[in-house]
Amino acid sequence: MKSLRRKVYSVTFWRITSIIIIVFIWELIAGGLFSNFILIDPVFISRPTLIARDFYDYALSGLLIIDLSATLSEAMIGFASGLMVGVGLGLFMSHFRTLARVVEPYLTALTTLPRIALAPIMVIWFGLGLPSKIVLSFLSAFLITFFNTYVGVLSVDQELINAIKALGASSRQIYFHVILPSVYSWVFASLRVCVGYCLIAAVAGEFVGATAGLGYRMLLASGLLRTDRVFSCFFLLMIVGYLLVESFKRIENRLLRWRPQVIT
């Protein structure tokens, strides 16, 4: 027990230490410590201190909160609506197998297409504002959950259905006690992947054309060679993505705690 705890402490210790070392080396080679020692021009890689200062300015100017809320709302509105429509349509389609087989190749084609390829046309259709990005992340979430729902219905364990039938369940009861829970387990297991894709869709959409958002700000800064601002946005995105994926991992584990834990 004690040695396990020590191990955890040492992991935490090295995580922090390694970050400090990386930041230190970065600062050093970009000329932040000795002005006559520059290995790589800070125009290309900026410098931790410059990034920190820019981050402060960025936050203080009020732009940060505008960009962050734009990107987040694009991703999350798309995610939530995609999830609902995906589950709904997936369940609906599972009742109409023939129709499902007719549209299946279209949906498969849409899924295999890099969804970012839709960004230019979405900007033309829905403009530079939030809607075009919401539609993009909606499509990401929708396609994933739709397929998971549909496959979930098809892969319900027939023996469980037989067992519940033998216990006296009506078809409605079979639906609510066996089929839906089984579908939800497929959908819940894809939440984390889904939210990641939605964030990608939002940022990619902003690259193509936007008026606000972290991706938009990043592209703007890159055009002006403002590497510090590019990195500010980059780190912000990284933190947001990490927090989102981690919290959805928790939600997943909570919703699927009846399953043997898989280590991810």
Partner: protein, 270 residues
């Protein structure tokens, strides 16, 4: 005179898939409150029989079915009315607890399906949990408990709605030898309490003799009745003690002669 609960008469089952003749000229009957074990070599068609009774095999859809199956005098094969299923309990070999429900929720499910309120169902479930020795495990999920415990939970789930006729298909087939003896004792205790009619399908002759009043030996495929034996070992029986009871061994040797021939035939069939 005792009432006939289950009658199987000249049953004939031929699967459409592969044209396999699974059962032919199969006849036997089960009296009220009786425990009948149906033994036969693995793959001989025992499960086919149960699947016909519970309508998991539909005549004309999955297989060609002839003959007659009566439950309390009512024909099962022709009817589309499945209300007779309500008095049947069916215990599977494979664990069919719903993985997303806790042990307690699984056990009380049949009551919920019958429209009982959650509070009432919980009270009864608690009673059955204790009866099968799962007290303290009610909030666990099936994957968190052992195989033996899962079969206990399945047993409780089957018994909780008090079916008059219980069909068991190799219920302890997946369990280790010792756990299996404990389960056999549990089944006998619970039977002693309610005296349901019990039909146990198994390939394990020792299990059959331990539990049953009567053993029906089936032939290799296509299954038909080879012989029937009464097990005149007095109750209450103890599965563990029976293992060195001379009467138990005498009966076992007598039946094994019949069964061994059929096992050999079935094995040669591949």
């Amino acid at each position: 005179m005792k009432r006939e609960r289950l009658v199987v008469e000249d049953l004939f089952v031929k699967y459409y898939k592969g044209e396999i003749l699974a059962v032919r000229d199969l006849s036997f009957r089960v009296w009220d409150k009786e425990i009948v074990a149906i033994v036969g070599p693995s793959g001989c068609g025992k499960s086919t029989l149960l699947n016909c009774i519970t309508k998991m095999i539909l005549p004309g859809i999955h297989a060609e079915v002839k003959g007659e199956i009566l439950i309390d005098g009512e024909s099962v094969l022709e009817t589309t009315d499945t209300t007779y299923l309500k008095k049947l309990g069916y215990m599977f070999q494979r664990d069919t607890l719903l993985p997303w429900k806790s042990v307690k929720d699984n056990i009380m499910l049949p009551l919920i399906l019958r429209g009982m309120s959650k509070e009432d169902a919980e009270t009864i479930a608690q009673e059955f949990l204790e009866m099968v020795g799962l007290k303290g495990f009610e909030d666990k999920y099936p994957h968190e408990i052992s195989g033996g415990m899962r079969q206990r939970a399945q047993l409780a789930r089957t018994l909780i709605y008090q079916p008059e006729i219980i069909l068991m298909d190799e219920p302890f087939g997946a369990l280790d030898a010792h756990t299996r003896l404990a389960m056999q004792n549990l089944v006998m205790q619970l039977w002693d309490r309610w005296r349901n009619t019990l039909v146990l399908v198994t390939h394990d002759l020792q299990e059959a003799i331990t539990i049953a009043d009567r053993v029906v030996v089936l032939t290799a495929r296509p299954a038909t009745v080879k012989s029937e034996y009464h097990v005149n070992i007095p109750r209450p029986r103890d599965a563990i003690r029976l293992r060195n009871d001379p009467l138990f061994h005498a009966i076992h040797d007598k039946i094994w002669g019949d069964l061994a021939d059929e096992v050999r035939k079935q094995l040669n069939m591949g």
